[in-house]
Subunit: 373 residues, 3 copies
């Protein structure tokens, strides 16, 4: 259905959870390592190009670089070198049709490069655990830490549109859902500082940071579902956040569950029953490649359409910013076409749902008016 | 495939788990609140009509009220007022083609209205927790409570076809699967009665009621899977009932797992391995709207066809009784057509499976012979 | 797409997890009992032929026996008797196109019959728990048990291509992921031997056997996901193995998660992030019948294609060896055709993926060169 396809194509997506692009050239191993959530070297007997995501790169990114669809990995990487990273990024980001990026600044750089190559507004999302670790390494005492963290968080979020927690990675969602007491926090901070303030994994400190994030009042993003093997996936089912979500409800703070796969149906349930809960299937769209359509279809089963957002969760490669948008547009077009063709949905409703999920819901949640840039 | 479609259309469905219809007029907020499992007011920036279920109401119920498919919410609600609730109920229930309803009488009223508007037999399913709470508030002592509950349960189930437990809501499925001892029950009853017999949440009392239900010998329905946010969904995975199901097996009592989404594949597994276990995907059929087909398809992966039932889990709105049937018929027609068109199933088998799931299995489990009304 | 269909049809499948075929004649009850994972007698009010697997037998096996597709159960069983088991096995195994079988020798016999009837190489996979139970019943002392088990395991695996653990059945995956200490093992062995060395369920002994398996260095198969009701399915989610998989990673031993349904997306995640982890959806392919296509599609969402294998998990009936292959070929053809028809995958890539999953990955993992038979 051409009208639907064109309408979905035209949505100036708000990519509400993305990262920067790696500025330098990448060799094949470096490129492949960004096509997987694994943190181990790719074994010699396989290539990460032989995956749903790898096939999607060859199919959808190759033409943007002037190659035939399904170009070989060798051709693809050669074209990348020949055009240069800056040109590759410019092309892929322009072709994505994304209109804005919300960027988690807690994980590496490449953000200036993303802004430069895309020419689009880039908004900041501040990662709580990074701020806490910076404060912990600044020579603070345990007693001063809580206030110092809150000051630093206020300072760092002055221009931010959202806050993110990766408590999923550091502890999982089986934490006590209530805010910790002050004495507890100071005690936990003491142990942590004595150890030299390494990567925060203490649940009391993580909960302290999380609740400070809630009090800050900005939309709160939570990594949920799959990611690199630093997490235990069975501890990252968003349903395990139910108690925390109940505690947050009266605070008037929006919560955004990121990724969620393979628990996206669970996330959609939470988005139905809790007015402040929203979710996306970012990361999964890219990694499932040709199957992104199926994942998107499942994500539209239980949630009101005002509660679903778009993100790429692209990190490092502009290919991922591009594919997130490309696979979302293809997948949404197919899912919505099925419902329109079967007579179950009206065309206008389908187009409206695409705009809500692709742009409007994010603009509402993050307060990104047309005038904000 | 017209023959298949017509055959599925003709099944006089036994809706083995439903509730009554709200008798009075509803304003828009009241109507929308019955389109969601959320117990919170619908926020001003969204409408529950923008959901899979809301779109299904506009698509499938509007024509029954004399409107075009996809009528606007405003048009739909105006037609509802103009026709009057009684006429709306009559039309929607007649058009559903449901032949019988099994009604959980533990949650509000509207049952006489359902019987009246549908003109079909309505059978009672008694909710254990409601009976227990009624006994608890009747001035009984802790020592008398067990016997008094059993008497009251016998009395209340004299004409019932089944018993239902909502232990999923009150505690979740992580309970000790064996019956509690008498002394334990009296002790738990003592605490509960001293507190004024509020909503039962004590696991000993819940298990006592559940096992009394088993001893009563009627088919036992258990809410499983999603529902309103009074439950913790991760505690309602029917797999957590495995130990209890093993204990019940030798008693010769059929167990019916209701709803089950998003754990319906888990429920289907239990229905394969335990002869007394059955399940449905009621509630999910309505809430997933155009995606009900996908959910039905998944529900038919692992279970023998004699173990799957139909229900709407409609509550309050006759739209929900109607849509349960409509979406089930459409979804089953599509799923079965695929298998027949691809040559994998014979047409006669497909029609037989539709009749088993839509009617025959429920008639067998609940003893609803053609003569019973 | 004929070229794709023919290409998938031509793959000489390595069935990397199967069992033997029952040598004698089976009556209807005996036959039906092998069409379900239930261990209970089939109730009189149902037949296991009325299931996705039962329909698949009638559709796909009947023609191999000279009957029309969708022959009745009575016709099917009569043809089976009339041809004789040996001929039925020969026909079904030949028509499957399987090129090799890896057989778990820990569960009943029929392996010579499988080799004879198929005329294909059959390789052994040794079940750890069976070896341990044999040693436990051999009159060994607790102190001698560890060394005796390791000797026996070495002896029994001398010609094996892999090792299998059914710790999923005996304890579930919530075990301490590290190897147990020697004193612990001797203590646990003492209790066990004093009880007459029954079916091993002690987690210390199970972990001891599992780690002895890891040290043996052969590919390690782990039952995961559904199976007969001797297991608690919620304890068999492969995600619960995450800690164990991290411990095994540095040992250079490949781990193969078997079956995995309904947790196959979880297994695919593990296969993406851990280079040594592989998985299949055997057993589920057969039991889901016409829906095997959907399960296969889901299994191809997150894993690199080098990490997915084929198996039937057939046990007892040659119908199951046949259907595993038939449904895999049909399902893969449909899934891959969709991706090729939509332009998302190149045809050559699709054919290559089919060969990897159907044959090449298993040959690589188990060291089954063309010369090995």
């Amino acid at each position: 259905m051409e009208e639907l396809r064109a309408g979905v194509e035209d949505v100036a997506l708000v990519d509400h959870h993305a990262h920067g692009v790696v500025p330098g050239e990448l060799d094949r191993a470096g490129f492949e390592s960004l096509l997987t959530e694994s943190d181990a070297p790719i074994p010699g007997w396989m290539t990460q190009f032989d995956s749903p995501l790898g096939f999607a790169v060859r199919r959808w990114c190759a033409p943007v670089l002037g190659l035939e669809p399904h170009a070989s990995p060798e051709e693809y990487l050669a074209a990348r070198v020949s055009l240069g990273v800056a040109e590759v990024s410019r092309r892929l980001l322009a072709a994505s049709g994304a209109g804005r990026f919300l960027v988690d600044t807690g994980l590496g750089g490449g953000i200036a490069e993303l802004a430069e190559a895309s020419g689009k507004p880039v908004h900041e999302v501040v990662r709580l655990e990074s701020v806490l670790e910076d404060v912990g390494r600044s020579g603070v005492s345990a007693a001063e830490l809580p206030a110092r963290f809150q000051e630093e968080l206020s300072r760092r979020t002055a221009f931010a549109v959202g806050i993110k927690s990766i408590i999923a990675y550091r502890f999982g969602f089986g934490f006590d859902p209530r805010p910790p007491g002050s004495a507890e926090v100071v005690r936990a901070a003491g142990s942590w500082l004595r150890d030299g303030a390494p990567r925060v994994a203490d649940p009391v400190l993580l909960r302290f940071a999380l609740w400070a994030g809630v009090e800050r009042g900005l939309p709160l993003q939570l990594h949920a579902g799959f990611g690199d093997p630093d997490l235990d996936l069975h501890r990252c089912d968003p349903l395990l956040l139910t108690g925390f979500l109940r505690e947050v409800a009266p605070r008037g703070v929006d919560v955004l569950l990121l990724h969620c796969y393979p628990f996206h149906r669970n996330a959609a349930y939470l988005a139905q029953v809790f007015p402040h809960v929203h979710f996306d299937v970012g990361l999964a769209i890219n990694h499932t490649g040709a199957r992104a359509t199926a994942v998107l279809a499942e994500s539209l089963e239980l949630a009101p359409f005002a509660k679903v957002l778009y993100s790429s969760d692209a990190w490092g490669l502009p290919e991922l910013h591009h594919l997130g948008a490309r696979l979302w547009r293809r997948g949404m077009t197919e899912v919505l076409s099925r419902h329109v063709d079967s007579g179950e949905w009206a065309l206008d409703d389908a187009l409206r749902v695409a705009r809500m999920i692709g742009r409007d819901n994010a603009e509402r949640v993050y307060g990104l008016g047309p005038g904000r840039c």
